[in-house]
């Protein structure tokens, strides 16, 4: 990937959002595929409002995109964000969260959210 220079202030804002275990995991999850709120709730074993509030922060900062599909709202990584290169690099260096999604799938908990 080409080297991009990101303004320090903006970088700090993004890093602050990454500096939370819950949000970092959420980003690790949407790196691989779109997820809906109930999936985050299941994977992270946290309350739905708590997850929603973390998602709102990520969305307000523009780090994730949301897309309503019927009853569900799917979140995905916004690869167009100015600080995406930082996020990409960070996610490259932490354990893959994909397996948590496949575990969900095997438990039959992934399907409930498919459109």
């Amino acid at each position: 990937m080409e080297k991009t220079i990101i303004e320090l202030e903006q970088a700090a804002q993004t890093l602050k959002l990454l500096g939370d275990k819950t949000r970092l995991t959420i980003l690790g999850l949407v790196k691989d595929s779109e997820c809906c709120v109930c999936e985050f709730v299941e994977v992270l074993q946290m309350s739905q409002p708590s997850i929603s509030q973390h998602l709102r922060k990520l969305r307000d900062a523009g780090l994730v995109k949301e897309q309503r599909r019927g009853q569900w709202i799917f979140y995905s990584l916004n690869r167009d964000h100015a600080t995406y290169p930082i996020i990409h690099q960070v996610l490259e260096q932490i354990p893959d969260q994909k397996e948590k999604l496949t575990a969900l799938e095997e438990a039959g908990l992934r399907i409930q959210c498919d459109s």
Copy 2:
């Protein structure tokens, strides 16, 4: 650089520390050379206690090393820290802070801290 996998919890802790403009600048400064507290104070235009408190956080987490040299205490980047690869990547993607140090030097404010 070889790819290293950093535990999520530890990564989050480091990212939290990076997620502050002051600390991110400090790390950007020590990336290039050792600095003492008075230099951070000068460059960042913040109070000495405030700078000291940020440095303590970075030191407690092991992200920077300190070395006393006479009256001064010099801080440097700890490249042996488990999360250093993340820090390295982040610093690669923000503007270089080196010029702030050369500006200090030109103003004759750098010498006062040399041992």
